[in-house]
Symmetry: C2
Subunit: 304 residues, 2 copies
């Protein structure tokens, strides 16, 4: 496949590009900056801003599959300026879809947010059919993009798949934008610093190792069948306190936790039901949490 990865310089993007290359695909890697330029060797790196329609249009031409991994905001920052979030994510995606339609892209694979799109879930584990009432503008933007993807398929036959990804972790996650608690916690533990934690640490998330996410993304690029939206998670819930304990165990250190007030953007529990992906994408998370954490720690050590 001739692939375009938007947001290629980020955590998921870097891992996806490497895996696509290894499988023999041609990869255009588009992004604002590369955190790890050497990791993207072999890709055609195209620097550009997703919010600039002109820089996108010329990039798309000739691509079969477009992976849309761009997050212009974070759950916390999106709530601060909701209009900016709407423009940077949703309006920019509309420009992208228009360009995809004009250039005859075969499929768009979009990374949505399994952790925020359902809001406070009425079912746990949460299936794709659950109600979607985000408590962050970030989640609303993701939901709106999903709906516009449906509209473009209906109106213009632009094929798409959506992966509602839980909390991914692994190599190339930097925690620079206040996302990625595992990366943040490991980095602080490795440098002997205390960990800052919002709330009492009982917030439960579904952490999924990045290789499993990348596998799902590549399966989604060629999936056939009527379903469009798939949860991608481990199906297991872990509290922040569990995470700290696991890191302390693997590093064989004591970790000091400094607690801060709970944040309104954090739902109390998020665990995804991935039955549909298992049935339809023949995908399931295959990396054990502790094994993924071990690899992540080894990678972070190698970066120091």
């Amino acid at each position: 496949m001739q692939c375009l990865v938007l947001g290629a310089g980020g955590f998921i993007g870097t891992n996806l590009c490497r895996s696509l290359l290894m499988k023999g695909h041609t990869v255009r890697a588009f992004g604002r900056r590369q955190s790890f330029p050497e990791a993207l060797r072999g890709c055609d790196w195209i620097p550009g801003d997703f919010a600039d329609p002109a820089s996108l249009a010329s990039t798309i031409s000739g691509c079969d599959v477009v992976f849309h991994l761009v997050n212009a905001t974070t759950p916390a920052s999106a709530n601060v300026d909701k209009v900016a979030d709407l423009n940077a994510n949703v309006a920019s995606t509309l420009h992208l879809l228009e360009a995809c339609r004009e250039t005859g892209v075969s499929r768009v694979v979009f990374v949505s947010s399994g952790g925020t799109i359902y809001g406070i879930p009425d079912q746990v584990p949460t299936p794709e059919t659950a109600s979607t009432n985000p408590i962050t503008a970030y989640g609303i933007s993701k939901l709106a993009i999903e709906k516009y993807l449906g509209l473009y398929e209906y109106l213009h036959h632009l094929d798409y798949r959506v992966l509602r990804v839980a909390n991914p972790f692994g190599p190339y996650q930097t925690a620079l934008k206040n996302q990625g608690v595992i990366a943040a916690f490991v980095r602080r533990a490795l440098t002997g610093q205390h960990i800052e934690m919002w709330g009492d640490g009982c917030v439960i998330r579904d952490y999924i190792y990045i290789d499993d996410v990348v596998e799902a993304l590549i399966l989604a690029a060629t999936h056939q069948g009527p379903n469009r939206i798939f949860n991608i998670g481990s199906g297991e819930g872990r509290s922040l306190n569990d995470i700290v304990a696991a890191i302390a165990r693997l590093l064989e250190v004591d970790i000091l936790v400094e607690r801060r007030p709970a944040r309104s953007v954090d739902v109390p529990v998020s665990i995804l039901d991935t039955t549909l992906a298992a049935q339809d994408l023949t995908w399931q998370a295959s990396t054990q949490f502790e094994e993924g954490l071990r690899v992540t720690i080894a990678w972070m050590k190698s970066m120091h």
Copy 2:
């Protein structure tokens, strides 16, 4: 109540303002233009553009309830320029909600779209819990606004109610923006012109008389209870061919129909399940269709 009606110069707005005044409320009527200035006598008319945040902020101060009836686009026009639709409706509403929060508005009542928000319905009649997959950007904008209302209540305790209104008809509907088939059909029949119809006339809609919609809006302004979103429709389906036949019968004329190709924005059937509004708002449509049509025809005759 001190009420602000946004989009007061339009069809629903004009009827709502008149009814609020009759019930003794104080009404600020905000809009770009008044189609029927004499109908809004007694309101404090404030000319302004919803897309201009500055003109909104000063208008809101001191209001208890804000009725948001603004449609900057139509289902057909929204699909043509989806980014413009997003800006004019969703981004502008975010500015409104921010202003409501700052000025301490008690409640926002938003008119959403019962006819487009569900897309091609998987249940008919369609309850509020049905899936929402609009086939127009218009419907996606309405859905996004509903989600942002939920977010503002969650984050900032701004109370709201949403009415997903079916296809309203009645006095003060002008069919100027290619909406309102009944107004359009009656006007052409009254002037002896043929009727233009998209598709084969089998498209089924839920037509609701405007007085019933206005009653629901006023109930929604003071409703207490946990539900936020209510379908407002007659619960009955009528085809375009039914409508033409009913108009011909009441006017005692033959009507010539010129058929045009079906439009992609038209779902084949839309009938709302209004059980929740009956239970929770103690509301139900009380105007018989033929009676509403009779009053509408009489009003349109009086305008000629």
